[in-house]
Symmetry: C2
Subunit: 335 residues, 2 copies
């Protein structure tokens, strides 16, 4: 297989890789002279075009790379199990990579996947960067990519997500129905697609209930548990919220610790709802009300769709969003 990539061409010609990619695809955005230069260089360096390279790859690895921000959150552990299950049924192996929520790791790993090491990639994006050009390069080089959970809607491929916006509304409306009027939102990051959608849902539900949005009721996640607890305690003390929407399991946990430390009665003084895939939240004191995503199914479907695209000749992944429904489990934390 040729080892010449779009990047090599870009370097040689002092053009951006995306210009190279567009020129090779005869994009109207690129002028005729540049197209000619690119095509000449591609020919000279024996650049292997996408579909052929993909075909060659397919025969070599029977392996899918999976990139997740972390593995100890039950959502990702279950999603990986779903991916593994579908891969296994189709005789594919799973190469796993944990980005530790840092796009630089994600990028370095993806760049190491040349030479037919894998046939395709499934990613839940790290979310601390909005420039996903490196994923487009990978696609341009013939390696198909499926996104799940934390996605970039601008990337042209299949994305499997759960109904985050609807669930942001559902979580907030559940608290409103239980009498809360001063609801804080514990978010991951304003660059994570799931969180953006959930917080938009939260804002929409407040607006619908004629409650003014208060940015001081928004808390952002830190990788340090103690920091999360102290941020939540500070909001509990200064803003006296009567409800909390925790956008991930870790933040729901931190909220429990914060309330316990301040002797605030969960379910009575403050109601908590959390997005969580952990099995034993009904053993918590009090049991945690959750929005639970179909983690296994999301992973399974991402792998199934990717493998279908690998098995069919000349098949390209549809640019579509597949949304799988989550479930609201009402428990005593929102009594």
């Amino acid at each position: 297989m040729s080892s010449i990539t779009i990047k090599d061409l870009a370097q040689k010609l002092n053009l951006s890789p995306s210009t190279i990619s567009k020129a090779l695809k005869d994009s109207y955005e690129i002028n005729a002279e540049t197209k000619l230069r690119v095509k000449e260089m591609a020919k000279q360096l024996k650049y292997v075009p996408n579909s052929y390279a993909a075909g060659l790859r397919k025969k070599t690895s029977q392996t899918i790379a999976v990139i997740v921000p972390n593995i100890t959150d039950a959502f990702f552990a279950k999603a990986i199990y779903g991916i593994h299950s579908a891969a296994n049924q189709n005789n594919y192996n799973v190469l796993i990579y944990i980005s530790s929520e840092d796009y630089k790791n994600e990028k370095l790993f993806i760049e190491s996947l040349g030479n037919g090491k894998v046939d395709g990639i499934i990613i839940s994006l790290s979310g601390n960067n909005n420039n996903h050009e490196y994923i487009r390069f990978t696609q341009d080089e013939g390696l198909p990519v499926v996104l799940f959970d934390c996605v970039d809607f601008d990337i042209d491929t299949t994305k499997i997500i759960s109904d985050d916006y609807t669930n942001g509304i559902k979580a907030t409306e559940h608290l409103l129905q239980r009498g809360c009027r001063n609801i804080a939102y514990l978010g991951i990051s304003e660059q994570v697609s799931t969180d953006i959608s959930r917080r938009e849902g939260y804002k929409f539900a407040l607006e619908k209930a004629h409650i003014a949005f208060d940015p001081e009721l928004m808390i952002t996640y830190s990788h340090n548990t103690a920091t999360n607890i102290s941020r939540i305690k500070s909001v509990l003390q200064n803003k006296k919220p009567d409800g909390l929407v925790a956008s991930i399991h870790d933040l729901a946990i931190a909220a429990y610790y914060a309330c316990n430390e301040l002797n605030i009665k969960i379910g009575q003084e403050v109601k908590i709802i959390g997005f969580s895939n952990f099995d034993a939240v009904d053993l918590f004191n009090p049991p945690l009300t959750t929005i639970t995503q179909p983690a296994f199914n999301i992973g399974e479907q991402a792998a199934t769709i990717l493998i279908q695209s690998l098995e069919k000749k000349n098949y390209t992944l549809k640019n579509e969003v597949i949304t799988l429904p989550s479930v609201l489990y009402k428990r005593a934390s929102t009594q």
Copy 2:
């Protein structure tokens, strides 16, 4: 690389693979005539001997295969994170395989790892089979194997475990100190090394306290949560234990559900201690007393040792057991 394996030679000569392996190593156990036959056939089929094959492999994959019984238990998720972390630091990738606690899956996967797909394997054994001949074949073919957590002590390699026997004693003695005299043991399987050690520790602690061992107080794990709960309920009703040692997190969870369904007060009527790596057990009602294994460190050390052996020429893994200490966290479930 030659695709002829020890197994192929075994088939051709109608001998067992372990005979072939021993013959090629000039073992005193094999007679001279057989040795000659094996070596002739190896030459004829261009069998590539171990060290050379291992050397070739090293250059090709920079990948470690990791096999775990499941991925949704926090112990394995954290161990994988530790393996990934060490692998990543040394520029190795991690190919993950989930055996779903079935040795047949484990065996099929290992057999698919020929042709330099990976440089070495890290396994926590599925435990439903005691014949690990397939792991020895893999070693004989030059692919190093490191075992962790659920291990087979008869396999000649490095094993990283936690101090299961000591912890079986420690867990049981903690319940004895809290006044329990009728302690049930909730085990995984009599074929899982961790469980065998923990249950031996449990028996030793009882004996030391002059309490007769009662096999009717032993419960064995099922893959079905409802079955586990019903088995525990049945023992709670028939044998009235005042203490439970749960050898894995899932069984501690099942014990909580069983007690809740029977309105048995945990910590007062029945004390529960569980082996668990889940972070939020102190939010349980009541908080769960745990023996917590150093999951991340176990994984990290397994990968570090394997990679060291891959990076050094002519280095073979020591036949040793490395034991990392666990910690007892006393909480209200054993108040």
